[in-house]
């Protein structure tokens, strides 16, 4: 894989300089939290050892997205939102979030029904991820097929070498970005050695905790297992895990009107909510927390694997970190593994 070097301040200048001709999204500190937002003049891009509180999901699959708008006084007329070919740069996301885009690609770039809203954003975006020199205690990315320096889903993967970044060129898109900018120079042998040491140290820091293959084997005939009676008990069904999860993509479609104008919207929804599957007849195939927890775990570690040969979890650890009742998906998976 081709590797380049760029000084950190040169890259920051390059990114803020591009904000005129493209949208640049990067982590910025807002009210004490690290969030990914579109960079405005004066914003300071912050790469710290902490991951952003919310994932990159919003940038490709917004929480509230207009599918089309209409005027109630003009039946039959619908206006699609403009699909622009404005280029976008996403900088500073972690490999776990970059990996989540490969999960989303399976869902929204399928051959039967390609989703124009997602594809428009995805195809116009260059993803520049930054590897994790210091993984957190909630990280388990190595277990889910990613890892602190995984290149999956990224066009460029950066390794922090203190004053500069070593740039791994992953895709053609990444290659042309590098070629367009003279601030990138070829990496040398010494930098490659430093990179090896960093990657090695970080990879060792992410302790192996769950084995998705073994979990999958259990889940293959584990639908009626007693384990489901236990693991959901603590869950209060708040849905925080699903909102923060970079791979959860369940949504609802609703209409909103003001006066005679209205919009059809796609909004995030959650399999942890009882209304999610409630039939008009009153029946509900996932009546209690047990069925809903089972669905969430099964979807990520069995159903999605059956359909896409990939677990729908990137090991980012947000659900572990922010669960209000300290449910830990790693513990759940371990329980399943030994059930």
């Amino acid at each position: 894989m081709k590797e380049m070097i760029i000084k950190k301040d040169a890259l920051m200048n390059l990114l803020t300089g591009r904000a005129d001709d493209c949208q640049v999204f990067a982590p910025v500190e807002v009210e004490g939290s690290l969030v990914i937002k579109e960079i405005q003049p004066g914003d300071e891009i912050t790469i710290s050892s902490m991951n952003t509180k919310a994932s990159i999901k919003e940038t490709f699959f917004p929480q509230r997205e207009r599918l089309f708008s209409y005027d109630l006084s003009k039946p039959g007329e619908m206006k699609e939102p403009p699909f622009s070919d404005r280029k976008r740069i996403v900088f500073g996301i972690r490999p776990c979030d970059a990996k989540s885009l490969t999960v989303f690609d399976c869902v929204f770039k399928g051959k039967d029904y390609p989703d124009p809203y997602y594809i428009d954003k995805r195809d116009n975006t260059i993803v520049i991820a930054v590897g994790c020199n210091e993984p957190s205690t909630t990280c388990f990315c190595s277990d889910t097929g990613a890892g602190p320096f995984s290149t999956d889903g990224a066009d460029l993967l950066l390794v922090d070498l203190d004053g500069s970044y070593l740039v791994r060129v992953v895709t053609e898109k990444g290659e042309s970005f590098v070629n367009e900018n003279t601030a990138f120079t070829e990496a040398g042998q010494q930098q490659a050695e430093t990179r090896d040491a960093i990657v090695d140290k970080a990879t060792k820091a992410v302790h192996a905790q769950v084995n998705p293959d073994k979990v999958k084997k259990k889940l293959d005939d584990g639908f009626d297992s007693n384990v489901w009676d236990i693991i959901h008990e603590k869950c209060i069904g708040c849905g925080t895990c699903t909102y923060l999860c970079p791979t959860c993509h369940c949504f609802d479609i609703v209409d909103e009107t003001t006066g005679t104008t209205g919009e059809r919207l796609r909004i995030w929804d959650s399999c942890m909510y009882p209304f999610f599957t409630l039939h008009a007849s009153g029946g509900n195939p996932r009546k209690t927390g047990k069925e809903r927890m089972r669905q969430r775990v099964m979807h990520k570690f069995k159903y999605f694997v059956d359909n896409n040969e990939m677990v729908a979890c990137t090991g980012c650890g947000r659900c572990v970190k922010y669960c209000p009742v300290n449910l830990d998906i790693r513990e759940i998976l371990k329980q399943i593994e030994v059930s």
């Binding site: 039946p75 949504f251 479609i253 209409d255 399999c271 069995k302």
Partner: protein
């Protein structure tokens, strides 16, 4: 790129009150755009998302047969906010249609075979489509005996009453209409669908059976069919689930790894027995 969320526009040409409790209406639609009509190709079994701006959208099985050119029919039970809104629409109103969505009844496999249709209540919609399709002049010779067993709680709750009378007169379709409880004018069969199925006792030899109805009817009909010798591969069901997108993305209609909207709604009993019991 084709936008799968944009509804096609159709006009409501005809509204028919089907049942005496005034809860089920049939809506006959035609597309505003001729091109949409040409592109809307289907084989009986799929559903479509009907859509009213400001109210939302919901999935309904297609009750018309593709042999009924230029007309799309939906029979809708008034049960929630959206179906209430549809019931309030009058002839001439414009409505959105997304579809056809989902798979279809395996009509190719039915060729040179006997076909038995067992249905109860307003689940008869896509089976009306299938029956109309199979008894159409272009198709009838492809199938051997066609038996239809259809039941409702009372005579007034039967759908498509005029058509049932027409089918009754034909000698190329063996029709058994039953009600749970008759009234003074009712001269037909009285009894639950599973019991009537047992009484009619269609031969399982060289025969496909399609079962569609309320869960309780299905629960008691399946053992009857198994007793008659129908193998699970030739027992076909059509499922319902809460759906939003209808294209396998929004995440609520799956049973295990299968999405009812995309991989269904039509499944064989053999397929269902491999899937988790979550429907």
């Amino acid at each position: 790129m084709n936008n799968p969320y944009l509804p096609l526009q159709a006009r409501i040409d005809k509204v028919i009150m089907e049942t005496e409790d005034r809860n089920i209406k049939s809506f006959e639609l035609s597309f505003l755009n001729k091109k949409d009509e040409e592109n809307f190709q289907f084989v009986p079994g799929p559903f479509a998302e009907l859509s009213i701006p400001g109210k939302g959208e919901a999935p309904f099985g297609i009750a018309s047969s593709p042999t009924e050119k230029g007309m799309l029919k939906f029979s809708i039970n008034r049960t929630g906010l959206f179906t209430e809104a549809i019931h309030n629409l009058e002839e001439g109103a414009i409505i959105g249609v997304r579809g056809p969505l989902g798979n279809h009844y395996p009509v190719e496999a039915f060729e040179n075979k006997n076909v038995v249709i067992v249905s109860g209540g307003f689940a008869f919609t896509t089976l009306r489509s299938l029956t109309k399709y199979m008894i159409h002049d272009d198709n009838r010779s492809k199938y051997k005996n066609i038996t239809v067993i259809y039941g409702a709680r009372s005579p007034g709750l039967l759908l498509y009453k005029d058509e049932l009378r027409e089918w009754e007169k034909r000698d190329d379709i063996d029709l058994h209409v039953t009600v749970d409880a008759g009234d003074d004018d009712w001269k037909g069969k009285v009894g639950f669908v599973p019991a009537i199925t047992k009484e009619v006792a269609p031969s399982a030899e060289d025969t496909y059976v399609i079962v569609c109805g309320p869960p309780i009817m299905i629960k008691f009909t399946i053992p009857v069919l198994q007793e008659l010798g129908f193998p699970p591969e030739r027992i076909i069901l059509s499922l319902e689930m809460r759906m939003k997108c209808g294209i396998g993305m929004c995440g609520r209609c799956n049973i295990g790894s299968e999405y009812v909207c995309k991989d269904g709604p039509v499944f064989t009993l053999a397929q269902l027995s491999q899937m988790p019991d979550e429907y």
